[in-house]
């Protein structure tokens, strides 16, 4: 019964498709019940059947070939990725050694109270901002412990474990791996040497962003003499100066004033309009094009904004490259400003929207990666995504290896817990924000550029590094904030993570969702929710970690 109906429909279509005469013949013809007619119809049906079958077989064969091709392609891509990672690792190692060699020369002016060093990761991080803060009161947990030998997963760009008693300057020397990781490993230079304008910028006061509220929060990370400054925080500070400069320019430049506000709001609106795609292509095409159009308009600088040195906004000094679109020493300030606005809008979207519903981060991440990898928005061949990272570093420090206790003032500062009018924002709000930022970070750093001609501005190893930094926290210092960020980074990104790293990713997930919470001394809700996530992965995807 049920089998017959599609057949019938098929023959229907055929008659419908043929000239009207056929229909009439069918109805009026004398032979419509004759055997010959019947045979004829059978014959036609058989021919049609064969045709369909052949077609199906052809398509099937093609599909098999396609899949095979895809498989080979994927395999090749994985290999390439692996090689790239190893190269990066090698470069980082070399760099680390170099830095280590250098650091010994530096005297330690202050006995640093920071109790210990995390072996694989983290190193420099807290040192970068903290010592500058209140060097005397900054220590993390007071709970100085034995060196953790976290058997963590292979960390790309991992640091060689250092003795826990290492004098602090050792750590302040090293650069955050993330910053280095995704740059073409250039010969190491002192960071400041190129940034001529930086000195100028630094004169201005240093409202170290992040917190930005009512003068409370952290006092800026003023580079102290012995330590290398937190480059992310510097960029963040420079961006604030840029914003102010734009406001000043607008006072005298009518063309700029007329356009800048509209462009800013237009970008914010477009980022806000991005919606979850659920696998449908082209859903956010209009928004993406709109953003590109606005940035190109800014790039063309018809409103004649001042030119500025982009090196104030990148982590590493850059040299001109062969055939690069933007090789000059300057870019229009309106363009840099709008890139900043775009990054800001994305971060705000992560905080406000993805905090409540982490799945909404994904389309924003796609848009960020696509936009900041556009060839005409690169500077000297490399993405300006450093601006985005600087913001991440300020709003979600745990991604960069910063740690702190939620029970202490300084701990909260280090964790990026916001203050409003001198009061800590409620816990719920903080954790929401961390959720959105964790998901947002994953949404940018786990993008697949294998099919793209463009270069991935934030390759997956950055994700791996951030995860490793959290996982390698000594048990006594594990915070709820870290658990929340970690959960958001993993949830609904496990598949992409595994696609990139295979079994290594599964090992990392096991460490993140089982070992890490098991090590935490206090089984808070945030800690437990990591284990619940492991349960959910098992139930929903069949991924067994335990």
């Amino acid at each position: 019964m049920t089998g017959s109906s599609p057949l019938r429909r098929q023959s229907y279509h055929r008659t419908n498709g043929s000239p009207q005469r056929n229909v009439l013949e069918e109805i009026l013809g004398d032979d419509r019940n004759s055997e010959a007619r019947h045979r004829y119809l059978l014959e036609t049906a058989k021919r049609e059947h064969d045709r369909v079958r052949e077609e199906a077989e052809r398509v099937y064969r093609e599909q098999l070939q396609r899949e095979e091709r895809q498989r080979l392609f994927d395999a090749r891509r994985k290999e390439e990725e692996r090689i790239k990672l190893e190269e990066a690792l090698a470069a980082d190692r070399a760099r680390l050694n170099e830095l280590k060699a250098k650091k010994i020369a530096i005297p330690a002016p202050l006995p640093d109270p920071e109790p210990h060093v995390v072996p694989t990761v983290n190193g420099n991080a807290p040192a970068a901002s903290l010592p500058t803060n209140n060097a005397s009161t900054q220590p993390n947990g007071a709970t100085s412990q034995r060196p953790m030998t976290v058997p963590a997963v292979p960390v790309p760009g991992a640091h060689v474990p250092k003795p826990p008693t290492a004098p602090i300057p050792a750590r302040t020397q090293s650069q955050t791996p993330v910053a280095v990781a995704h740059k073409t490993p250039e010969p190491v230079k002192p960071a400041n040497s190129v940034l001529g304008i930086n000195g100028l910028l630094n004169n201005t006061s240093q409202p170290n962003g992040a917190t930005s509220d009512s003068g409370t929060s952290r006092s800026a990370a003023q580079p102290s003499t012995q330590s290398r400054p937190d480059r992310h925080a510097e960029i963040h500070k420079n961006l604030k100066i840029l914003r102010k400069s734009m406001a000043d320019q607008a006072k005298t430049n009518a063309a700029l004033k007329g356009r800048m506000g509209d462009m800013r709001r237009e970008i914010r609106k477009s980022v806000g309009q991005l919606t979850v795609t659920l696998g449908v292509a082209g859903v956010n095409k209009i928004q993406q094009q709109n953003i590109l159009r606005l940035l190109r308009e800014a790039r063309s600088n018809q409103m004649q904004s001042q030119l500025m040195d982009p090196s104030n906004f990148v982590l590493e000094p850059r040299n001109p490259i062969e055939g690069g679109a933007n090789n000059d020493a300057t870019l229009p300030s309106i363009f840099l400003y709008l890139i900043n606005i775009f990054a800001k809008a994305a971060i705000a979207q992560f905080i406000n929207e993805a905090g409540a519903r982490p799945e909404t981060a994904d389309p924003v991440g796609v848009c960020v990666a696509a936009t900041l990898s556009e060839p005409d928005f690169l500077w000297r061949g490399t993405s300006l995504i450093d601006i985005m990272l600087a913001k991440f570093r300020i709003v979600c420090p745990v991604l960069f290896g910063y740690r702190g206790s939620e029970k202490t003032e300084q701990g909260r500062q280090r964790l990026g817990w916001w203050k409003d009018s001198g009061r800590w924002v409620p816990e719920q709000q903080h954790m929401d924000r961390m959720t959105g930022l964790g998901a947002g970070f994953a949404s940018i750093s786990l993008r697949n550029f294998a099919m793209s001609k463009k270069t991935n501005p934030l390759p997956p190893r950055v994700y791996w590094t951030a995860m490793a930094r959290i996982i390698n926290t000594p048990p006594a210092e594990i915070s709820d904030t870290q658990c929340v960020v970690l959960k958001a980074m993993v949830e609904s990104y496990e598949q992409k993570f595994i696609e990139f790293y295979g079994t290594a990713a599964i090992a990392a997930l096991r460490t993140a969702l089982l070992d890490f919470p098991a090590r935490a001394p206090q089984k808070s809700a945030a800690v437990n929710s990591l284990e619940v996530l492991a349960q959910m992965l098992k139930r929903d995807t069949g991924l067994v970690l335990g």
Partner: protein
């Protein structure tokens, strides 16, 4: 501010009036960081360190007036089973809100006692009664109806069904059905331990003997003031209750409980524990309430589109009076690049479900609707609510509709998140209406003007930032 506990009245000393005990003056926690750090149990487990300064108590206590604050640090402490607790963790619920902390122990204790509970929008009422229901259900009888939850619209019933399923995702054998038109099989009838539905459909099912109510243990009425007040549904609710076992535990929940409904509610749920709020406490402090001064009605469309550049917006809901303007706004906003669902009475059941699902899943981020969705709908990422038309009620829309205003703006600012509501005024009548609403709830609405968008943007940003910090922030009163 008195905390909620002091206002829980025992059935024995139920007050005759709605009079609320005067609040003991707040003595602690307002000093903004001048007190010495001390330990009162709120921050137990505080790490004593030589170097880092502890978080000051005042900061922790600052939350105490918030409906989200609670002294209980986990759901486990409330004695919920692990399977339920895991479900809460999966939803990123970390600790109970105040209504949950206060009401849950009363509701899940034995013998079961009735409850009438009021709490602001977005403070966890649904989770509170869902947890009660889940703790009452015997999962070894998965197809035997044991709890019934009633809501005023099919959307809300489906939403409650979804919440039960999500919180109960680790409870084996939990079957939840929605008793709404077109959802229960006519052949089998209700085959679930928990049923969320609308009163009309539930009544039909019981009458047709397709819903075995003999072992129901709990009856929840969500949006209770609306359910018991409305002529049609009030009747239906009474009739449904008449068909249920006399011993059933009745739980009434709403953000609003006008006095006249309260008396009826006490008859409907006799000897109930009560948790109530004063009407100046009803607005959610995290929602920045503003109004847009439109030069005339025709400008409203363009102004609406401009709003989306002023601040970061997740999803948004636009309330309009007529279907025609809903369609027109949809057309304009889609032309401006927005993905829009327009949902109103013209759409039929399944179609409405699909439109709302688009909005819930994030396929569309703007929801334009008439009043059908003012109540209860919870999409956590809604960060802006627009009263394109001020809600009115009565013959010829004479007077402003206070309750509807409150429920509408309550679609944002869910669970302590930042939210913005913007009401459009353009003539004397709309201005008057909004003024009355502001007076009623003691609001200071911030005025926005559509002539200089740079300035308006700055103002909006300031308002959002400061209302996050100081609930009573109001740079600009409504009266000019």
């Amino acid at each position: 501010m008195a905390d909620l506990a002091s206002r829980i009245t025992k059935p024995s000393d139920a007050p005759a009036e709605d009079a609320v005990a005067p609040a003991p003056a707040a003595t602690e926690g307002q000093g903004n960081g001048t007190e010495e750090p001390a330990d009162d149990g709120v921050n137990k487990g505080l790490v004593e360190t030589t170097y880092d300064v502890e978080v000051k108590l005042s900061d922790l206590q600052a939350d105490q007036d918030s409906p989200l604050y609670s002294g209980v640090s986990s759901f486990e402490e409330l004695g919920l089973p692990k399977s339920i607790n895991d479900g809460l963790l999966a939803m990123n619920f970390k600790k109970p809100s105040k209504i949950q902390e206060r009401a849950l122990p009363l509701m899940i204790s034995d013998p079961p006692t009735n409850m009438i509970a009021q709490s602001q929008s977005g403070t966890g009422k649904t989770a509170a009664f869902v947890l009660t229901v889940l703790s009452r259900v015997d999962l070894t009888k998965p197809t035997q109806p044991q709890a019934l939850l009633l809501a005023p619209s099919r959307e809300l019933a489906r939403q409650i069904q979804g919440v039960i399923q999500t919180i109960g995702q680790f409870c084996d054998n939990l079957i939840v059905e929605a008793a709404i038109p077109g959802s229960i099989s006519r052949e089998t009838g209700v085959q679930a331990s928990v049923v969320a539905g609308t009163p009309g459909t539930v009544m039909d099912l019981i009458r047709r003997r397709q819903f075995d109510v003999s072992q129901l243990k709990a009856l929840v009425i969500d949006e209770a003031d609306n359910m018991l007040d409305q002529q049609g549904m009030g009747d239906q609710c009474v009739r449904v209750k008449g068909m249920l076992p006399k011993t059933i535990q009745t739980l009434l929940f709403s953000a609003t409980f006008p006095d006249k409904v309260m008396n009826f509610a006490r008859k409907y749920a006799p000897n109930a524990n009560e948790i109530k709020l004063r009407h100046t406490e009803l607005t959610v402090k995290g929602i920045s309430q503003m109004y847009m001064d439109c030069p005339d009605e025709s400008k409203k469309y363009d102004i609406l589109c401009k709003l989306y550049g002023l601040m970061t917006i997740g999803s948004s809901v636009i309330f309009v009076k007529t279907r025609d303007s809903a369609s027109e706004i949809q057309r304009r906003m889609e032309a401006d690049g927005h993905k829009v669902s327009a949902l109103h009475g013209a759409h039929e059941g399944q179609n409405r479900d699909a439109l709302l699902d688009d909005f819930r899943s994030g396929r569309s981020k703007v929801l334009i609707t008439t009043n059908v969705l003012a109540r209860g709908i919870d999409v956590s990422s809604v960060s802006m609510v627009i009263n394109y038309d001020i809600p009115m009620k009565g013959f010829g829309d004479k007077e402003p509709d206070m309750e509807t205003y409150l429920h509408r703006i309550g679609r944002t600012g869910r669970f302590g998140r930042v939210g913005v509501s913007i009401s459009f005024v353009y003539d004397h009548k709309s201005y008057e209406a909004l003024s009355k609403i502001a007076d009623h709830y003691g609001l200071d609405l911030v005025q926005l003007r559509p002539d200089d968008w740079d300035a308006t943007e700055t103002k909006v940003q300031e308002v959002i930032k400061s209302s996050r910090a100081r609930p009573d922030y109001a740079p600009n009163a409504l009266d000019k």
